[in-house]
């Protein structure tokens, strides 16, 4: 009877996960979906505690330890989730991702070290659980540190070779451990654990800030896959299905992010923009740019009929999302139509800009995806670029020498005029020159994004 009840709880849990993910296809139903999935998870946890039996038919014991863990974890998780600033969301997501990976790694280790089974199916799954779980954990924690500016980028050719070497050793050890379990024994598990830990650190370390969306999506996928291996160890269907769903979703996101940068996953993981430091030879000559005064910029916007704002990571750094919304509202008061054009990899994680602007109360129908925004460019009067650079670089379209040639970009130069808000003329990530700044329709407005936007709001009031 109790096994029946357990499986009943599990199947309901699986269905809630699928419904929850399905409801994410629209912002109107997404919140309900999240609640449904959370309820399903609670049910599955309760079911496990109440009805799970081991082979000897004993129920779950050590309840104090379990309930204690649940309470401590819930308290910390809830406090962290409610306190975190929206601008720190990429770090938070990486951190939670890492804790999930650690859980998988711990349970895979415990099963591996406490078992003397030589069944290759079990060994394969246990090894994979240890490796994928540990890589997810250490990789996510490094990603967390990098996003939080606690860890700097370290890269170099040597690192690439070292990574390949470690990966190769991990694969060889796993194969050995499965084919002849006696030779390696428990030591194999320890070595794999240590190597995976190092590999997770070293594979995320060299990856630059602008490539972070790809890595976070990939780590997200790995955490699901690690969970699925846990499901295989225990023949637990909800762990398996939950894990696979997450693995699949993370892989799709990873592929989408790679596509949005026109790079292969391999290329991102190896790090850097190939030999990108040379940049484009064409753009580095003497060129002049034009500046625009605050007052002129305000006038241009106020008398336009359609204005587009293109946000980038700079908006998050300057915490300028609220004042950006104020700016948009002041323009709308003057009868100007305003929309935001959002590049899929703008920011540090998939969908980063959307979350920031939603936090500032920008209604989501104004947040337009790149593919829908591009056709609107020719009849947009003014484009304002706030802290974005590579995602509006025309070199991606017309300069085969540029490291980002072929990457889909927002074609802001097709609009009637462009105002670029920027701290200085320094090139952005990877030092790629941006010919947009020298474009005949573009004007520069230097300064901190938050500061400049609030001054623009002031100027608009006086008009």
């Amino acid at each position: 009877m109790s096994e029946f009840l357990l499986e009943l709880f599990y199947i309901v849990g699986c269905v809630t996960f699928i419904i929850g993910l399905r409801k994410l296809s629209s912002p109107d139903s997404a919140r309900q979906g999240n609640n449904i999935a959370a309820a399903g998870m609670t049910l599955a946890i309760l079911g496990t505690i109440l009805f799970h039996k081991n082979e000897a038919g004993e129920g779950i014991g050590n309840l104090a330890w379990i309930v204690g863990g649940l309470v401590v974890g819930s308290a910390i998780g809830y406090v962290m989730a409610t306190r975190v600033k929206m601008t720190a969301m990429p770090q938070m997501v990486s951190f939670f991702n890492g804790t999930g990976g650690a859980t998988s790694a711990i349970i895979a280790c415990m099963e591996f070290f406490s078992s003397d089974s030589t069944d290759w199916g079990f060994l394969l799954v246990a090894y994979l659980g240890i490796v994928v779980g540990t890589v997810t954990f250490s990789g996510s924690m490094v990603a967390y540190g990098k996003l939080d500016d606690k860890i700097k980028d370290v890269s170099g050719r040597l690192m690439t070779y070292l990574n390949w070497l470690m990966l190769a050793v991990i694969l060889v050890l796993m194969t050995m451990g499965i084919l002849s379990p006696e030779t390696l024994g428990a030591n194999g598990g320890w070595i794999l654990l240590g190597l995976s830990f190092l590999y997770g650190i070293f594979f995320v370390m060299p990856i630059g800030g602008a490539d972070m969306p790809v890595v976070i999506a990939l780590l997200n996928s790995l955490s699901g896959i690690a969970g699925a291996f846990g499901g295989l160890i225990y023949s637990n269907r909800i762990m398996l299905i939950g894990g696979i769903l997450v693995g699949a979703s993370g892989l799709i996101l990873t592929a989408l992010m790679c596509k949005a940068m026109n790079r292969s996953l391999m290329n991102v993981l190896i790090g850097g923009f190939g030999g990108g430091s040379a940049g484009s030879a064409k753009a580095s000559g003497e060129q002049s740019y034009r500046e625009v005064t605050l007052n002129d910029a305000a006038i241009m916007c106020a008398y336009a009929s359609k204005v587009c704002i293109v946000p980038g990571y700079g908006l998050a750094v300057a915490q300028a999302q609220h004042v950006c919304h104020d700016f948009e509202k002041s323009l709308e008061k003057k009868g100007v139509e305003v929309y935001y054009a959002i590049h899929p990899v703008a920011g540090r994680m998939p969908g980063h800009m959307n979350v920031l602007l939603a936090e500032a109360d920008v209604p989501y129908p104004k947040l337009v995806e790149m593919d829908d925004a591009n056709p609107q460019m020719p009849n947009t009067d003014v484009v304002i670029i706030v802290g974005a650079n590579d995602v509006v670089n025309p070199a991606a379209e017309d300069d085969p020498g540029s490291p980002i040639y072929g990457m889909p970009v927002i074609k802001v130069w097709e609009a009637k005029s462009v105002i670029v808000m920027k701290r200085s003329m320094r090139p952005g990530y990877a030092g790629i020159e941006n010919p947009l700044f020298f474009h005949e329709r573009a004007k520069m407005l230097f300064g901190d994004a938050k500061d400049t936007l609030s001054k623009l709001v002031g100027e608009l009031k006086n008009l």
Binding site: L70, Y78, M89, T99, S223
Partner: protein, 102 residues
């Protein structure tokens, strides 16, 4: 080959589940708009906390005098719960911000 076919037949239910779940996951997630990619990530992240079942099973069936297993298992429960609760809470917080009009 023989070993493989035996393995397949022994675990065929699980293998079917894995394959079908991959396709199901792909189909379901394909419809999520770029607008919601961050909540998708943090929400699915919370779902991956489903490994907490494993940690409960480990602790629940550990011998009461096996302190190492209890402590490690406890740690796994804490980390897993952090993932689940934190993930769902942060996703809920984000999603409550997406509004059509005020």
């Amino acid at each position: 080959m023989q070993a493989f076919s035996e393995f397949f037949l022994q675990n065929q239910d699980m293998i079917f589940l894995v394959v079908l779940a991959i396709f199901l996951g792909t189909e379901v997630i394909k419809n999520v708009p770029a607008l919601l990619h961050t909540p998708l990530m943090s929400g699915s992240n919370a779902v991956s906390g489903v490994v907490i079942m494993g940690s409960i099973i480990v602790v629940g069936h550990a011998r009461p005098d096996d302190t190492l297993a209890l402590v490690l298992g406890f740690l796994a429960v804490v980390l897993g719960t952090l993932n689940v609760v934190g993930g769902f809470a942060v996703t809920g917080r984000m999603l409550s911000m997406f509004k059509k009009r005020k």
